[in-house]
Structure formats: C-alpha cells, structure tokens
Symmetry: C2
Subunit: 275 residues, 2 copies
Amino acid sequence: MVTSDEVIQEEVLREILGLVSRMDLNMSPPLMGQRIHRIIKEKTNQADPYKKHKESSNWLGLKLYPGMRSYVEEAKNPKEAAVQLAIAGNVIDLGVNSRVAESDIHKSIEEALNTPLNGNEKEFFQAISEARKILYLADNAGEIVFDKLLIEQLPIEKVTVAVRGFPIINDVTITDAQAVGLTKLVKVIDNGSDAPGTILAECSPEFQKRFHEADLIIAKGQGNYETLSDEEKDIFFLLKAKCQVIAEHAGCLLGDVILSRSAFGSTKRAVTAQV
Amino acid sequence: MVTSDEVIQEEVLREILGLVSRMDLNMSPPLMGQRIHRIIKEKTNQADPYKKHKESSNWLGLKLYPGMRSYVEEAKNPKEAAVQLAIAGNVIDLGVNSRVAESDIHKSIEEALNTPLNGNEKEFFQAISEARKILYLADNAGEIVFDKLLIEQLPIEKVTVAVRGFPIINDVTITDAQAVGLTKLVKVIDNGSDAPGTILAECSPEFQKRFHEADLIIAKGQGNYETLSDEEKDIFFLLKAKCQVIAEHAGCLLGDVILSRSAFGSTKRAVTAQV
C-alpha cells in the first residue's frame, strides 16, 4: 500500500519475521500489532500508512450517516438501533482484513440490525444513566461516524471520547474525530499511545486519570477488548467478533455482534441489585 | 497435525519464522518448502508427518479409480480424458491447502473434464509416440492413482515413473506407488531428494542419469513446474494453477488446468516441423 519498492518491501518483511520469531507470544495482539506497525512506519518512512484509507472510510461513513440517523430516529427503539449500528461499524477494521468493501459495510449493518440485543441494551443504558463520568474508547476511522449515532443517544455532558494518540493501522485519531464533526458534539481526547488498543501503562497521564475517574467505560472493537477485558473496571464492550480466538473467548460465533459487560462490571451490578 | 504439545509448536513456529526472515527470496518455493519441512520433521521427531493423509488420499483415489477407468474407456477420446483426469488429481496438494475434502476432488474432476485441451493433447501424444525414453515425474499421494489412468494410456515399455526420495508434505514416495499398484504396472524409481519438486542438483546420480537420458519428461504439479520450467529439456507440465504467481507465469487463471510444453520443447518441435 505504501511503497512499490521491492527492496523496502523485502526489508520490512524480513524485519517483521525476525521480530515475530522472537516475540513473547503472551503479549496481547494490539501490543504485537504496535511493534509490527512501528517497523512498517519506520522502514517506509511513512508516519501514517493508512491515511488515505482512513479518509475514504470517514467519507463513506458520512455518506451513510443521514440515512442511518433517520433510521435511528424512526426506529421503535432508537437506543437499541444506535447500539446495533455502532457495533455494525466495527467491521471497518484493517487490522483484521486487508480491505473492507462498501458492500461488507452494508452487509454488516443489515446483520447488526437483525440481531436482537436481548435486553442487554437496557442494562447498558441503565448503567449509563447511573454513571457520572463516561469514557468512550473509539476504535477505527469510518467506524467513528457510527459511534456518533450512538453518542447522540447518550447524556452528552457526562461523556468524553478517547482516540489513539498516534496513527496506527486505520485506528481513529483526533484528525478523524475532527473530520466527522465529533469534536463539535462532545469532548474528545487522545490516549497518547500508538497501540491499536488501550495499553493503560503506555497511555498519557491525562488519559489514565480520565480512565480511573470514569465510573463507566464504553470500549469499541477487538483491540480495546483484547487489552481491557481483564481490567477491574465497569466496561461495556461493543464489537464484532472478527477472529476465532475472540469469538471463543466471548462465547459466540465468528462475525457475531457483541455487547457485553466486563466481569468486574457484572459483579458490581449484582452487588448493587442485592443492596 | 503431528503434535498437540504447545511448547514444540511454539519452537517450530519460532524456528521457521527465523529461517524465513533470513531466507534468500530468489530460492524456488520447493527449496523453501524443503527447508521449512525439515524443521518440522526434526523438531517433532516425525520423519513422515503427512503419513496418514497420504494413506487416506491413496485410499480415496483407489475408491474413485474403477469409475474413472470406465469413464476413460468409454470416452470419445480416451487419451484426452486420461490427461484431464491426471490433471484433476493435482488438486490433492497439501503444500497449497491445509486440507483437501472429497468434494474438492469431485469438483476438480468435473471441472477438468469440462475443460477442452484444445488439441494440446494431440501434440502431447505425438511427442510421446516420437520419444524413446519417457520419464514421468509424479507429484502427490492420492494423485498417483489419477496418474495411473494416464500411464495406462502410454507406451508402457518406454516409461519410467519417478517419485520423491524421502517423505515431504504429501508428495508421493515409493510407498504410495506400491500401495496403489503402480510398481506392478511400470518401472518406478525414486529421485533421492526430500524436496517437494525436482531440484536436479540434489537428486541421486541414478535419477540424474535417467533424467538426462530421457528425451521426454512428463512433469506433474506445481513443485515440478517451479523447479524445472527453465530447464533445457523437452518437458510437458500437467498441473492445476493453485496460486496466483503460477497462474500469472503460465498465463492462465487461478484454478485453471494446465497442459503446457517447456520453451525448449516447443522450440525443438518448431525446428522439427521446419525440417
């Protein structure tokens, strides 16, 4: 995508293979991805190899936005429709597939809207109404437009959205949040990190403070799921299961829509319910 | 396939990644495959990791054999049908796909029988009738039963069949040739090498002698095509194009049936025709 120079391509390939041959296989996939993509950026001398793809994903999202917004407004349950669409947008992930066609996005929207959330969205919006500070961890460019539909259904004054600190694959940065008009709607911060997920120890002190202060985290996508699923924090994960390992971990099928609360959050809820 | 011990799996994975990171990318794919599979055999302490798969492929080939033989005998052009089926059998290649289902084989047979060879089979059988010594380079277990159908259409006294010298992926060895009754029909030798192709310099002196003495080579499969296509020898390649690089090199589409003569062979023919 970034260079047709076969000498550089070979150099990138060799360095990545060497890195992977020595890699700690217990590292999370976003940490592995960070290390691999640092090599690509360094060797090709491109700080943002996916720039064009991110721009066209944002453009495509914005093209679909008016239709999706009408759909949400006219839906029997607008909140559920907004959650379904936000998850549908998670198909725009170039860390999993090397390309995402417009038809894949339409298919993902149709599937998500046909997948009932079985009342999980009620628990989700209940937690939102009880929370004082909500941190929304966005995932990919393009997908951020789908997030906007959901964020519009949230109590906006409680919400801060976080994006990645530096370009990494097609993950969302502040540039994308600005491009789709999200920064006008809600407070957006960056996490200071170049990982395609949320590796807390590597995030900026400001981000870490916001994360710890928030009493509810909304985490989009596989990368955030892979890095935060064991965190002692009340987190709702919204994603599509795009690989077999994730599907097995979440107890669903490949391609399924996931809206699930972290173990910590579920325990907290059970205790609250008892009281 | 060979071990469920994750420690060994990780060791194999790391060693192969390290090897590939330093590999000369100008090497032919069968040479790369040889080096990779030597690591697998050594680290898992299994001289023949694909043994069971080869046995079941042979068994499946033998199950299909009576029906295919009747088809050939009753065909309008039995020789063309035999060539088509021999190429169809080339789908049984575990070096390209990690598994081959019985339905894939049926599909491959149907497609091959519906692909006219456009008279190329006439040139092929013309060369066979003019040759004095023919060396038939077999490719994979299971596929060897399909080869038998074609070999039955050849002037058997001129023909020697060569198999690999040692187990490598699911490539055919003398064990398979015996198992499917080929050794009773025709002289079968092994090439002394553990490469999934024919790397002449690594083959036994006896094989090299036979190769040089033969005035016609029939070479089955991608591995033989990848290692012999630049050889100054009259060679007919019979294979299915199972990867994009091969398809482009042969000027056909992925999955296509290929019956093509080496550049050297084609030149020889043109000269003969002029005389």
